[in-house]
């Protein structure tokens, strides 16, 4: 049986990449999308069966909810996990890791959050210089 597959939908590369790497370390096959549109494209690609969609939901934007609604209608066997903040997203990823194949659990989701925050701080410093 193939590894369970997670699709991460997150616009910010500095957030998405550590989350994806964390979940790969947990034994998942991880797909990455930076938008709901790209996520739909991946989900409609019949070559891939996605088990869980982990998507960001930003306040004031409907794309995340619309994607969740589309998944529930068209892919009823795919679970949708929505996260409103980076902290929530890493917490949800930690939960998925706990429940998943658990090839290894190399680090806590709080370390992933800490890593993401350091990347974002480095970006902010670079933007100022």
């Amino acid at each position: 049986m193939s590894d369970p597959c997670i699709l991460i939908v997150e616009m910010d590369l500095l957030v998405r990449t550590p989350l994806a790497e964390y979940l790969r370390e947990c034994g998942y096959l991880v797909l990455e999308a930076s938008s709901a549109g790209d996520a739909r494209t991946l989900l409609e690609d019949s070559a891939r069966r996605v088990d869980i969609v982990l998507a960001e939901v930003k306040s004031g934007e409907a794309a995340g909810f619309a994607l969740a609604s589309w998944v529930r209608t068209h892919l009823p066997n795919t679970q949708v996990v929505l996260a409103g903040t980076i902290a929530t997203a890493t917490e949800k990823a930690g939960d998925i890791c706990q429940e998943g194949p658990a090839l290894s659990k190399p680090y806590d989701h709080r370390l992933v959050l800490d890593h993401i925050q350091r990347l974002l701080a480095a970006r902010d410093r670079n933007d100022r210089t």
Partner: protein, 133 residues
Amino acid sequence: MVPQPRLRPRTRRIVVVEDEVLIRALIAEELRLEGFSVIEADRADDALTYIKSSEPVDMVFSDIQTPRSLNGIQLAETLRDKYPDIPVILTSGNALPGHVGMVEAFVPKPYDVTQTIALMSAILAQKSLGEPL
């Protein structure tokens, strides 16, 4: 003689810049199967931000036509100036030959994934010959 601990080779990190999500996912998946760590960017701007902010990157494989302010050629030019040790491979469906000279290689689209990964591996192997052990 004191035995020296054997250092595990660091996983090579490749940034793939491609706005077509299915193409990006395919090459990223194959690269991971070959043991590479892959950063998937759909925009050259994001790739540059990542390179500035994060761990060292060993190679950039970028489409030339990318959305937003920076295209693949501008990304390659920036990397050549600021990160000259990072080899860059460009790809496109309609590149002009003039773009090819400033990067390690140009791969015309549509490309064969296996051959492209072999090319990347060869360039990285060549580069590692010049690195200190």
